[in-house]
Symmetry: C2
Subunit: 304 residues, 2 copies
Amino acid sequence: MSTFTIHTLGCGSAKPSPKHQPSSLVINHRENLFMVDCGEGAQLAFMRQRLKFSRLRHIFLTHLHGDHVFGLPGLIGTLALQGNGGHVTIHTFEEGKRILTDIFNFFCREIPFEINFNVIEPGEAVIYESNSLTVRTIPLRHRVPDVGFVFEEKGKLRHIDRKMTDFHGVPTFMLNRIKAGEDFIKPDGTVVPNRMLTTAPTPPLRYAHISDTMYMPELAGKIGPVDLLFHETTYLEEHKSMAAPRGHSTARQAAMVARDAGAKRLLTGHYSSRYDDFTLFKREAEEIFPHVILNNEGLSVPLD
Amino acid sequence: MSTFTIHTLGCGSAKPSPKHQPSSLVINHRENLFMVDCGEGAQLAFMRQRLKFSRLRHIFLTHLHGDHVFGLPGLIGTLALQGNGGHVTIHTFEEGKRILTDIFNFFCREIPFEINFNVIEPGEAVIYESNSLTVRTIPLRHRVPDVGFVFEEKGKLRHIDRKMTDFHGVPTFMLNRIKAGEDFIKPDGTVVPNRMLTTAPTPPLRYAHISDTMYMPELAGKIGPVDLLFHETTYLEEHKSMAAPRGHSTARQAAMVARDAGAKRLLTGHYSSRYDDFTLFKREAEEIFPHVILNNEGLSVPLD
């Protein structure tokens, strides 16, 4: 059972088509759901994946283009209709807070539901932190202010070597401190170093979400060696000349970022509706970087 | 080939479900498309029915609940993306104009596209008129201001009886005037009455769209003998006690309106998501009124 899974709700781009839905993705981290972007139809895709509305507490918006936002009023209306007195926090720029507040005040006024905003800036910052996860922003280059998000687990506790703790007579109430790295001091004053009682913790998992952006070579260093990198692949190289002026990337460029960041795997998406054969995105990216996952609606990718 | 067809894009109600989409319907009158309501996902359903965006010039909103409106920003964005320098008129209340203008100003500012508003009142009035069609409003009783729409063809031209016009030597350039009802005066002054040269015109077609409303017995008289009546059937009689307080009707009540109006056929819809077997709506309505069409996404109903 994975503790960190990515669910794709929509991986199309602005021009709608029956082939793909507009952008939306959900991160399930230990049964807490974090949504990134919310294109039209996201709430239905959310239901189809059997995700639970009551687990969704945070929505992160990369930027304020309609294909990343127009599912939000309907989703908020539905969350409110659940009638469980819930709340949700939307992480967006100041202007997003302004327009969304107007929309919710108008359309969701009948139903009591708590909508909080965390106003973010289009720069680098940690914008969310819990006891197990942080989310930081990376500025991107698009036609409007735009950020990527890196979801990083915090350092985890070391694993107890049960045989050794039993051998040294470590009492049960001490185990959490030993997991956290403390040495054990026996009643006779002997110090048993922590490394003799524990093994290394499971490495923290990291997911980076990069959409929408033109190719930025310096992005790789800011992302680092994540377990999974979603990087938009709006175009194929044959339409490369369109990519930068429109603030988008090709599959090959996304693969270069994945390779240079030292990512374990690359997830494609934000496909232009001009294409019919989406396997071409995978093939093009694989010429640069071998571990490519071809995105599609309904896809789930466990990180561990 | 029908000249007046109703296309259902969504016939569910506020609480979303994978069973039905929220409200939206398109009237195709002689290749001019008129949309009534625009719930989330309407633009994709529009494409799936192979309707043409370039033919859509008028959108009518019954009321300003999210399940009738949240597809509009995405649809307008898509119309604008077509880049054909088009325009669309949205018929809605003053407060609808206000909030929608804010939304479009924010999200559609990048693309030039003409959005006009025709501000309507929640009363009885003719709100649209072309040379072949009028649209009038009927006030409904819901939790917010709400109107139904009656689409009525104008009186059509009489049919030429070719044998008789030839016999009396009516010149070709006179035929349009004869169709419009004029008598023919021969060169010698003899008057040939119009009824000897023509047969009765095809009767004008009428469609009434009634959503959302509690049961209103007086509605039938205001609608009149339409060719097709869409009347919301949110509930079955077993949940009748919920219907009126929430501003909705049962299938039986809709059938009573259809019967009392002298409608030819009744189209169901706006189904509550609590039901699984939608054929029950048809069966319940047919106990009162025999000509019931069970609505569903993708349905097309020709009026002629």
